[in-house]
Symmetry: C2
Subunit: 202 residues, 2 copies
């Protein structure tokens, strides 16, 4: 079969990412198959390579969608939470965990897909990935007010993300098996609040 009028270039891209995203959510990264994703979309393998150039490109597009949903989930969780004390940051950490738990396969796939430094990420995808850091940056900055400068804040924001990420990753991989179900999130939040308190005065 040759050119079809079923879908425009944009529609086709959207369709493939959508099916790929669903397949990744269903099977997880290790069992994901580009062939199967194309099959479900009603196209054949080659189309994936026509549209995304490579499997890496396809996975980047799929994972960027997850990043988008994730950022959206965090914003939704923050809606209407008053900026009293650490309330918004607590909501942020909890929403982080909630999203990862509700989207295990998709969330883990973000970190399962190791992107070679040689490959460059499309600008739009890069933006979707940085949106998350942006949210945390905004909220942490708001909490500190004028009590901190950029040189300190930027590494701290990364560190807080890494802290929560570590708890979430080990939790989903089963390393918290013997402990209370909500312990990982509670502990992550405790670490974040301790770090905030310790860095207030500097």
């Amino acid at each position: 079969m040759g050119r079809r009028s079923d879908h425009s270039a944009k529609e086709l891209r959207e369709l493939l990412v959508s099916e790929g995203h669903a397949l990744l959510a269903e099977r997880g990264f290790a069992q994901f198959s580009a062939r199967e994703a194309a099959r479900r979309a009603g196209y054949s393998v080659g189309t994936i390579y026509n549209v995304f150039g490579s499997l890496d490109g396809f996975l980047i597009a799929i994972n960027s969608r997850t990043f988008g949903h994730w950022a959206q989930a965090l914003e939704t969780a923050l809606e209407g939470v008053a900026a009293v004390d650490t309330a918004r940051l607590e909501a942020l950490v909890m929403a982080y965990f909630a999203f990862a738990e509700a989207n295990r396969n998709l969330w883990m796939a973000i970190y399962d897909h190791r992107i070679d430094r040689a490959i460059d990420i499309p600008a739009q995808d890069g933006a979707a990935r940085e949106a998350l850091t942006g949210i945390v940056d905004r909220e942490v900055r708001a909490w500190f007010g004028a009590d901190i400068d950029d040189a300190q804040l930027r590494p701290l924001v990364r560190s807080l993300i890494a802290t929560v990420h570590g708890h979430c990753a080990l939790w989903l991989s089963g390393s918290y098996a013997l402990l209370n179900e909500h312990e990982p999130a509670r502990q992550a939040l405790a670490r974040v609040l301790e770090a905030l308190a310790a860095n207030r005065m500097h």
Copy 2:
């Protein structure tokens, strides 16, 4: 070919794990191949399944070896470090990062290999994996002295490990790209020390 006297059952197991370990270090988890590991050991694919039952079993054995080396590296780093203030815990965090950096592929493979809950880990391998937690537990307990009880210490130890893990994982995956090379380790240590200080009085 049938039964050979080249290697005893123990020797064969050791040989395969050794070659597999080397191959994993060389190629990384995504490019690892049981076929190739067997080939390098001078055996054929089937032998892997005879000895380890499954690919998962093989990978568990290989990763357990990495856990062993890792624990050993931490103990070596702690040797001769006096228990003044947080010196030993600082050495621990630094050694954690140093091992991961020096064994990127092997370290990452530990977390790349997702083990199904259905599969049970051999007792010996389970012990190798818990040795690491044991070291941290021992050192944190020593630092606190009598100022903390088990109910608080156990979750805290897990949390400290998760904190350092998170920094290390994001570091090696390139998420700290724009920051100073030693920033991730420095930040991880800062978070650990803040957590220790905050939990001293409770």
